[in-house]
């Protein structure tokens, strides 16, 4: 089942990326897919490592749209700082607790912090991130706690 799924995804990727549908190119693609699936199969017996994505699909899309809006807002505020003659920079390094249970959730939260201009995750540790802010204001903690809650909300509740 996993083999078929991998093959279908790889074949779809090849067809989308190549855009040339002659017999030879598609044939090369088919050979590549078979080769990759064979190698993956052999590697699987060495370590049965699996990346598990346990996210709620619809909620993830909603979060992504919310994140785009956040990026727009914070891009604009950083742009104002860059272009203002006085450059009101208030740099600060502070820790932000995170509540995600899975590694993937923590990655999404840390990358979301970095993706919004003005804040970036410097260090990840057990239970908290070190975050550096360009223009720190006390409200930032609340905004990040809000983001933390939103990321935790898209995690699938049944996590081992």
């Amino acid at each position: 089942m996993r083999v078929i799924g991998t093959a279908v995804v790889l074949a779809g990727l090849w067809l989308l990326m190549s855009g040339v549908y002659t017999t030879m190119v598609v044939g090369l693609g088919a050979v590549s897919v078979v080769l990759v699936v064979y190698v993956l199969q052999r590697m699987d017996t060495v370590d049965g490592d699996r990346v598990e994505i346990r996210l709620k699909p619809l909620a993830s899309v909603g979060y992504f749209i919310w994140l785009l809006a956040e990026i727009a807002k914070s891009s604009w505020s950083v742009t104002r700082i860059v272009l203002s003659p006085k450059m009101p920079i208030v740099q600060h390094l502070f820790s932000v607790p995170h509540t995600q249970k899975t590694d993937l959730g923590q990655v999404i939260f840390a990358n979301s912090i970095t993706l919004t201009p003005g804040t970036l995750t410097v260090e990840t540790d057990l239970g908290y991130f070190l975050v550096h802010a360009l223009a720190y204001a006390p409200e930032d903690m609340d905004a990040l706690a809000d983001m933390d809650g939103r990321v935790s909300a898209i995690e699938h509740p049944k996590v081992a």
């Binding site: 740099q91 390094l93 993706l115 970036l120 995750t121 550096h132």
Partner: protein, 118 residues
């Protein structure tokens, strides 16, 4: 219809170029390493998103758009990750960020960072 899409795509492309230039201006104007990282992230996020959406509108519903969206998806993952790697390397090798906010745990936060990322 085509004219509307063209105008929209030009708005996106010009907006993206604006944010890319703002990031470059910030890179020059800002005083130190840490603030410059933030300036570049404007180019990294807003600039890239707007430029790729604008180009996708130009390309229409073709394979080119699929590729552009894949590029966007990968940049969404690799961009913050590489920024984090640079920032983390700076912190681990001892470049302390200047803090303009008074705090009393200034040492506690940076003490145990010698071990590097896990």
């Amino acid at each position: 219809m085509q004219a509307v899409i063209d105008i929209l795509s030009w708005i996106f492309i010009i907006g993206g170029s604006f944010f890319a230039i703002v990031g470059a201006v910030g890179l020059v104007r800002f005083p130190d390493f840490w603030s410059r990282l933030h300036a570049v992230s404007v180019t990294d996020s807003a600039g890239v998103i707007l430029l790729i959406v604008g180009m996708a509108l130009q390309a229409g519903l073709t394979l080119v758009t699929v590729k552009l969206l894949l590029i966007l998806a990968f940049l969404f993952i690799t961009g913050p990750t590489s920024t984090h790697a640079v920032a983390n390397a700076a912190l681990v090798s001892g470049l302390k960020p200047r803090s303009s906010v008074d705090r009393d745990d200034a040492d506690a936060a940076t003490q145990d960072d010698k071990a590097g990322p896990t």
